[in-house]
Amino acid sequence: MRKIRLIIGREIKSKLKNKTFIIMTILAPLLITGFLAFMIKMTQSEKTEQNVLVIDDSQLFKDKLVGNDYISLSFTNQKLEKAVGEFTEKGYSCLLWISPTIVEGGAGAIKLFYKKSPGFAFQTYVKDQMERIIYESKLKANNIDPNIISNSKQSIKIILEKVNDKGSTQEQASFGLFGFLTGALMFMFILMYGMMVFRSVMEEKTNRIVEVIVSSVKPFELMLGKIIGVAILGTIQFLIMGLITFILTTALSAIFLKDASSQLKVFETQQELVKKNGTNVNFNELEKFDDKLELFDLLKKLQKIDFMEVFICFILYFIGGYLFYSSIMAAIGSAVDSESDSQQFITPVMIPLMIGYFIATKTIMDPDSSTVFWGSIIPFTSPIVMMSRITNGVPLWELVLSLSILFVSFIFTTWMAGKIYRTGILMYGKKTSWREIGKWLFYK
């Protein structure tokens, strides 16, 4: 045991001294949060202050077209030609001109003059409001109460409820994308650390130091020490990355989502009211949140995820999947002499991992298909596929079955890898084939 500890220690130390490793550990969370921030930013509209001068030749919009927190509108009766030349000097950012024939429609009915583009969000804001004003005024012209129209519109939402074994139901998050991301993360981790074991084994073999080491420890101990060392290293890295990501996202949500959570509460109570009282509520309250619907959806889905369950499953499947693949990688590393030979042996190992990844993409669309089920049971793909399913609610027996198969399989692959490794590390100069490796399994 003392010797395995020494090997584990060396493995960890040598990697911790590696600059790329340290940079990766810090850079990855930055990239992840950066990406997240970008996504959230995209769902929020741009808010640059706009001071708009409006020339309304149709006389339809005065007092109806209103600004908001960051858009202020001032109506004027100036001539258009004059105003175009002057509006920037008078401190307006743009000039909106509405033609007298706006109600009849047609292109060129409204013009926006600017020096600096006011952005798409501003255009949408103004356009939506004006369309509604025209709509309502046309209804009025025909003696139709706008309330009748808006009351007869009914938006619907499908609420997913999965019936579990006890017959009770539970509203599902069905956040396929999140599942897929955890699956993809698992794929990356297994591959990354598997390759780390592979390189470490090959380095010792090509360095020829391995013969000195196996004269002190059993080859199996050396292999095990390496695999465990990289596993500990991976866990440390994962925790550091997790911590940095957590801190960054907390800071990030404090900046970006300041009001979103409280706004979501208001929005939800409003929705409840709509459910209870039917149409007899103030729709304006709901409309206020129109531009935040995407964000609310994201937040609600995130709130429904049981992060503890995801975290525990991730750790368990990472350990199982990593040990399963890294022992195979160690065996291959021992069998090859050079990086260039290794490709033909790595590819067949990559294929099941890739298949797992593709099944995980299928989970987004079709989480209960039989491909996904079997993919999450068979050890070659189960760590990736099961992670992609986890937010959809997986019955406990499936989890237990899949994990048991995975752990029994890794004991088997480790045992087999030990046999191959023992012979492989001392084989030089020969072109290795799968047949040859098969024979090593049976050497004494």
């Binding site: 020494l6 020829r208 130091i209 013969e211 002190s216 004494k444």
Partner: protein, 317 residues
């Protein structure tokens, strides 16, 4: 001397060839043992089995009378033919790590490493990475790795390859000093000069089988060919006549009236009989028996073995 290592009927097969076929050897304690043989004879296979890197298919090995097990690795030091160290690791860390794998505590390993660094005058190397050292320097580090845990049995596979003559001499002296301190040294080599200089006993392996073993002195004695070199002043014709049928002249050479003759005596004729026969007719300057070198014996035995494929057992002992 008792035996530190007894190898009994060890065989090892790989999928398409036999590496060792029923090899038995005893290695005496506190002596230098040479493991000789041409390339591919099975020396490295045997060395790996002694180091428990691989296991034999059949046969047994005893270390000081106990069956060889994993616990003995700490009492053995091994320098493989293909040298290797971690390129990116510092010299100090590396040796400490490998010494600890051989069972030393970290403090003890540090103490001994300091001693060796001072001895080889390489204190400044501690923090250097192996890839920054010259090949000869790397070899010195590797030698320290091999002996730092003060093994009772030291196994060196081609220890002198890659050393310049000065470093080779340094290592040679270390080997002799370690023997003086009570260590047993097994080394495999092609360098027959160093065998005569260093080895007390040898074993010769050819084509997976042991074909010769024993003490170097006795082997050379046993392989005497009754050949002598004699230098004298006098009549060469008279010398030849006196020799008569007692022997055959292999080579002769004359310089300043001094003849130098190499001759092989017939079976049953001794050196003193030759001397008695020629003494009356010439003035003898020197008289030497030509004992074959280990190099000659090596070549002779291996060639014999190769000629007699299939009946190699005739040549054991």
């Amino acid at each position: 001397m008792p035996d530190i290592l007894q190898i009994k009927n060890v065989s090892k097969k790989y999928s398409n060839h036999v590496a060792l076929n029923d090899v038995s050897l005893n290695v005496a304690e506190k002596a230098v043992f040479g493991l000789l043989g041409p390339n591919g004879a099975g020396k490295t296979s045997l060395i790996r089995i002694i180091n428990q890197i691989t296991g034999p298919d059949s046969g047994e090995i005893f270390f000081k009378g106990e069956k060889l097990t994993q616990k003995h690795v700490e009492r053995i030091g091994y320098l493989p033919e293909e040298r290797g160290l971690y390129k990116k690791m510092s010299v100090g860390d590396q040796v400490l790590y490998l010494a600890q794998l051989k069972g030393l505590s970290k403090a003890e390993a540090k103490k001994r490493l300091t001693f060796w660094f001072e001895k080889f005058e390489m204190q400044s190397w501690w923090k250097k990475k192996i890839e920054e050292l010259s090949k000869g320097m790397q070899q010195k580090v590797q030698f320290i790795v091999t002996v730092i845990h003060e093994p009772e049995l030291l196994i060196l596979d081609e220890p002198f390859s890659g050393f310049d003559p000065i470093n080779a001499q340094l290592i040679k002296n270390e080997i002799l000093e370690l023997r003086k301190k009570g260590a047993t040294v097994i080394f495999s080599t092609h360098n027959m000069g160093s065998v005569e200089e260093l080895c007390d006993n040898i074993a010769l392996i050819n084509k997976s089988e042991k074909i010769l073993d024993g003490s170097v002195k006795e082997i050379r004695k046993a392989n005497r060919t009754n050949t002598y070199k004699i230098t004298f002043k006098g009549n060469l014709l008279g010398f030849t006549n006196a020799l008569w049928t007692g022997g055959e002249i292999l080579e002769k050479h004359t310089e300043d009236e001094i003849h130098s003759v190499t001759l092989k005596l017939s079976n049953g004729v001794t050196g003193s009989q030759l001397l008695q026969a020629v003494l009356p007719i010439c003035e003898i300057h020197s008289f030497n028996e030509l004992i074959p070198s280990m190099n000659d014996i090596f070549i002779m035995k291996v060639n014999q073995g190769n000629e007699a494929v299939g009946t190699q057992s005739n040549y054991t002992e």
